[in-house]
Symmetry: C2
Subunit: 725 residues, 2 copies
């Protein structure tokens, strides 16, 4: 029990009332390390002044009073620590294309340990946004379009980051975000979503339900309005769904400036203070406020509002628990010697090299054009050739990176600078009168070399990067076109027109429309968002030193107009035609500006990716016992090189009470196979894992199920069998 | 009370049980014309056999038993009777662009009377789908993207169609459809929608709530799955929302083949019979089944299921009420003499001419290029120049129409055939090797004439039309591209490259992306879907005999990738940028393939349309009294020609409990003004009309409201004032 007295306090130039907590009898209890974080928080809370409490609600250090509560650094950390000098891994989307959870665990350990060495114990990851709209600028920060894969990768991240140290402290607290986001109107970060309970549960919330089993420290709520109620004040989602139904007990954080936006953007609050009050009442506990005006400081005037006071106490207790749990009251400061030992250790670089190699997706390889072990001369063309493109929350600079190489650097290192003729040709984004000259020079270089690598894509870098003006990807961006920005397509068209054999290397945290012109290229690789070793890995793949094994986690669309394009569409969404025109005889006459398309026919969907060898994946052998389904798949390397294949298992009940996706991923495993080798891969699936949410209740159909196994979500890459459960 | 006996009956080759109703004491009561339709239906029902009852549930005549119940013809009737020979009006979307409800009433009277003369007393219109996605192939059948305008036009239609004749019979029963549809995934007719109660009520259901005040006979449910539950079995929407909350008491009809689709497409029923049972239980009462297999006939085997028997009785009674109410039991057969008198009467043709003139929208008119009263010679180019493009549910043929003219015909009639050089140039959809020759010939004709009219667009015709193979618009189509199909853009580009002054005439039941190349045209007119006099009206507008006054009811998008593009987006949807890239300095360098766009900046949004004169619309003067807001607007013709302007009033509360559209249309009026003339237009708005649905409950905000008045929804075309209510 707390005892309050009320006293006037001058704050920020105005006379306000504040609540001063009368210290509890034993005011030193909170220092007792033998107590749990919750017990210590409980003990400390009554000793705090009202202004100290309010200061806990925001992350800007200058708003804090001096006091007994330490601050905790909360920082973005997507594919590296947030400052230069750490190991720069490929970004999240690239790591998901490895389809390798063990490898991802090692990557996460490295990022975690580098953060800890820096004294950072709370990060603003992982991002569970389900990448259902390729126009969304943050797809590169996600694990892709599939709820199961997103959930498994994110759970791995949270479990690894939040591992306890030898003292029992959480190593690095995580922030699972953005609850909920998937398809904002127009692919916009802050835009609204329609809602619908079955949609929210089955399409967006499933990864959260999975990750909550790992007990994450905090969740950041989405900017979006869902069914017209901004999530920052959406009690139904925050209290009903997330707290009551899904059982989340951690801290709820706003996205940056989201609370003031309630007043200034979505117009659902009459003032900043009104916004703060509504957000607090809905359940927000921490305001991410990199810019002024912040909203929660306005609550300092509400010390006579008993409900606010009660809510603030709850919130502050949650903050204190996190600070005790992460050791902020107890851990020593980080040391330079430890930092030097941990950052960029050889172990971290080894893991990075492996992750970089496995993340690159080979999309096209006509007549086994790749690998090319012996390249005597090559023209390296395009504006992404001498750029390191790591994503908007990475610390690297795009030019002359502190560590690692651009494709130009890697290629020159591998072949000798004299054998690489580099012509940028055009800018990434800017269109100039002189582009035709640049393109001519590029074509001339291509013809002279007899082999070209064209590096095209979209830029996603830190906002202070020298090339930031050419960004078209990352937070705050949406893709009104999924083609290549600027004059890049014209460059590519001209090179392909020349007939010189061409390898296209794509870069960007997004999928691209690859039109019929682009598809003329002999080979196409997608590198997504790079780590410091991605360019080296790309060259190793081109040379055949590495056999590519990445698989798409986002579907490549054939045209903007066919969105949405994710593989797990509802069966009836494929009826009535996505086609611009349906008559097949007419389709055949179309040029690539007006494709004849049908949903589900995307040639490069989720799960797709080529290898230099070939694999055969058998149909599933399915048995059941005691509520568990066992699936056995034989995968054989039928080609002439060692390689890795991702065995993918999809399923759905034949009929269901509500409409379910045409198929959904349920298990996957990456397998390494020598030439000619076969392996049997066994999957065990509890029948309970085959259910879905119907009106917020989880249910499992009894009856016939169909299981597919194969190398991608494309129906021609899958074999199936049924079983009655 | 009915008394049943059960007896075996051989039907369709199998032995089944059927219920034979024992006739009620006075079995002739239903013939009494003095009784109400409901009383007569109640009296007739017990005299029917089970198979007769089942036969009522479908519309295929051959499935019916001989019996005492007459059949009723139910037919599509969008812009004409459904067979050739009637007056062909512009299609629904074109009529909405008149923004003239009185005129629309006259059009509806004409279509109604022609249907009655033909003996048709039940039509499958109006379509209340809110055209939120320009990719939807049926936008031409809708009243556009705004819920208020859709509701007002549809209410006018239902009121006029269902007017009682001198005997008290409903003249023509209507079918309000498709409950609910607006933004199916990918713009596909049958595709799913996410749902969300606030979204459904405020974005899609409002027109239904308006139209239900007119007591329509029937409602057709949508193919869509809403929040994963197909509407055909969606009890929550059909029973909860439509029956209980919205009070609909009429008949609920399936869309064509929608019930079998529950089994074959959406996979939510284990058999056709299971589908029929689920649909009946959810509330469907009539199966539209132009193709086999139909589902409801399978219920004939369910005569021992008391629930089914009870539901079938309810359904059959509803059918009988409609047949009594429309006079099917009592009216004489139609006569040829009456038919000849009514079809294509001079009154109908006069109304049609007026509607055609008012429906055409002038989108661009550089330096008052139009009107051109004296055209000595013109090149008429493009594949839509000699086509009558009336929509997929119109009876006309696209070539050599029975009545009316194509643009070629109208232009030759106006200028003399020798002064019109027609070159088709390219096909509508097909792409040929020879296209470049066709384009060269077109450019040569343009240069020779010194003036060109280029007619481009997309075709929407009846499926048996000789050009049906070139359709890209209409039911079952979706637009994977919103550009012009085939080689039309190349034709247009070449003509514009030649520098010959160009008038572009658009045709198609859709909006198009007008890229920077197209925008070089001196003038652009959109004719949407044509009636028989649309081409004449187009020529009259070009010549200045008619001053154009149509206004868009669908926003013209600038790129596919910026969808959705409707004007009434939520405020926060415009934040964070629809832009492909946000930095203005970069935007300026973009070519038209990669536009720099921001939501709300569409240059041709809802409400937009030019005139040959200019108007000034004042800011609103707002007063309030007794719960009624009065808005006074002064509109002045400031140009040199007489003309018509649509005064548009938009509103929103400054703040609201849930996020509301940035603005919404609340009133409009089309005003005719001589040059220099001013008129004061007064609007009266009950405060109760300013509300919205929050979690299915209607509520009206108290506080400040902002009202805008002007000539389009574009913010630069509007003036505003606020009032506190």
């Amino acid at each position: 029990m707390f005892h309050f007295t009320v006293a006037p306090l001058a704050l920020a130039g105005s006379l306000v009332y504040t609540v001063i907590a009368a210290p509890a009898p034993n005011s030193e209890t909170w220092k007792n390390k033998a107590l749990s974080p919750a017990e210590r928080a409980e003990a400390l809370l009554p000793t705090l002044e009202w202004t100290e409490k309010i200061a806990q609600l925001g992350v800007r250090q200058e708003q804090m009073q001096d006091g007994k509560v330490p601050y905790i650094t909360v920082t973005d950390s997507v594919n590296s620590i947030y400052v230069p000098g750490g190991t720069l891994f490929p970004a999240t989307l690239s790591l998901s294309t490895t389809w390798d959870l063990d490898l991802y665990c090692q990557v996460t350990e490295a990022i975690r340990d580098e953060n800890m060495a820096l004294g950072t114990h709370w990060v603003l990851s992982p991002e569970l946004d389900v990448a259902k709209d390729p126009r969304y600028g943050r797809v590169g920060e996600t694990y892709g379009e599939d709820v199961y894969l997103v959930g498994e990768f994110a759970a791995q991240y949270v479990r690894t980051m939040e591992e306890k140290d030898k003292n029992g402290f959480i190593k690095v607290a995580t922030t699972v975000k953005h609850f909920l986001y998937g398809e904002g109107a127009g692919g916009i970060n802050t835009a609204s979503m329609a809602g619908g309970t079955n949609h929210l549960y089955n399409d967006l919330a499933l990864p959260y339900i999975r990750v909550l089993k790992e007990n994450p420290t905090s969740i950041m709520v989405s900017y979006s309005s869902i069914d017209r109620v901004p999530v920052s004040i959406n009690k139904q989602l925050l209290q009903g769904m997330l707290r009551s139904e899904m059982g989340f007990e951690g801290l709820l954080m706003s996205d940056a400036t989201a609370i003031p936006h309630l007043h200034t953007q979505s117009l659902v609050a009459s003032s900043i203070k009104d916004a703060a009050t509504k957000a607090l009442r809905a359940g927000l506990q921490l305001e991410l406020a990199p810019q002024q005006p912040a909203a929660f400081p306005s609550l300092v005037n509400s010390s006579d509002d008993h409900e606010i006071v009660r809510l603030v106490d709850e919130v502050v207790k949650q903050h204190l628990v996190i600070k005790f749990a992460t050791g902020m009251f107890d851990l020593p400061l980080p040391t330079m010697s430890d930092l030097k030992k941990v950052l960029r250790s050889s172990k971290h670089l080894d893991v990075n090299r492996k992750a970089s190699c496995e993340s690159i997706v080979l999309l096209q390889n006509k007549n086994k054009f790749l690998p090319k072990p012996k390249i005597s001369k090559v023209a390296l063309l395009g504006p992404m050739a001498d750029i390191l493109n790591p994503g908007s929350y990475a610390p690297s600079t795009s030019e002359k990176p502190l560590h690692g190489r651009t494709l130009k650097g890697s290629l020159e290192a591998a072949l000798g600078a004299q054998n690489v003729k580099y012509v940028k040709g055009v800018d990434i984004t800017f269109v100039h009168e002189s582009d035709s000259e640049g393109i001519q020079a590029a074509v001339a270089a291509a013809k002279e070399a007899g082999l070209t690598i064209v590096a095209v894509g979209s830029l996603s870098v830190y906002m202070l990067d020298p090339n930031a003006g050419e960004r078209t990807d990352g937070e705050f961006f949406t893709h009104a076109s999924l083609g290549f920005p600027g004059s890049q397509q014209q460059l590519l068209d001209a090179v392909l027109d020349s007939g010189v054999p061409t390898i296209v290397v794509l870069s960007g945290g997004q999928s691209f429309v690859l039109n019929n012109s682009t598809m003329r290229a002999e080979a196409i690789l997608h590198t997504f968002l790079a780590g410091e070793l991605t360019a080296d890995s790309t060259v190793e793949i081109i040379q055949g030193k590495v056999n590519p094994s990445g698989k798409l986690t986002v579907t490549m669309p054939q045209a903007e107009g066919v969105l949405p394009v994710y593989y797990d569409f509802l069966p009836s969404d494929a009826q009535g035609g996505v086609s611009f025109i349906q008559t097949p005889s007419v389709c055949a006459t179309y040029d690539y500006n007006f494709p004849c398309l049908k949903r589900g026919d995307a040639p490069m969907p989720f799960g797709y990716g080529l290898s230099y060898t070939t694999f055969d994946t058998s149909a599933p052998k399915i048995t059941q016992k005691d509520g568990t389904v066992s699936i056995s798949v034989t995968v054989t390397n039928t080609g002439s090189l060692a390689g890795k294949e991702v065995v993918q298992v999809y399923q759905r009940p034949t009929n269901s009470e509500i409409e379910l996706p045409n198929k959904r991923l349920i298990r996957f495993e990456k397998v390494e196979l020598k030439r000619g080798q076969s392996k049997v891969v066994n999957f065990s699936i509890s029948k309970n894992d085959l259910g879905y949410y119907n009106n917020a209740k989880y249910q499992v159909e009894s009856g016939e199920y169909i299981f597919w196994t194969g190398s991608s979500s494309k129906i021609t890459d899958l074999k199936n069998a049924t079983i009655t459960l």
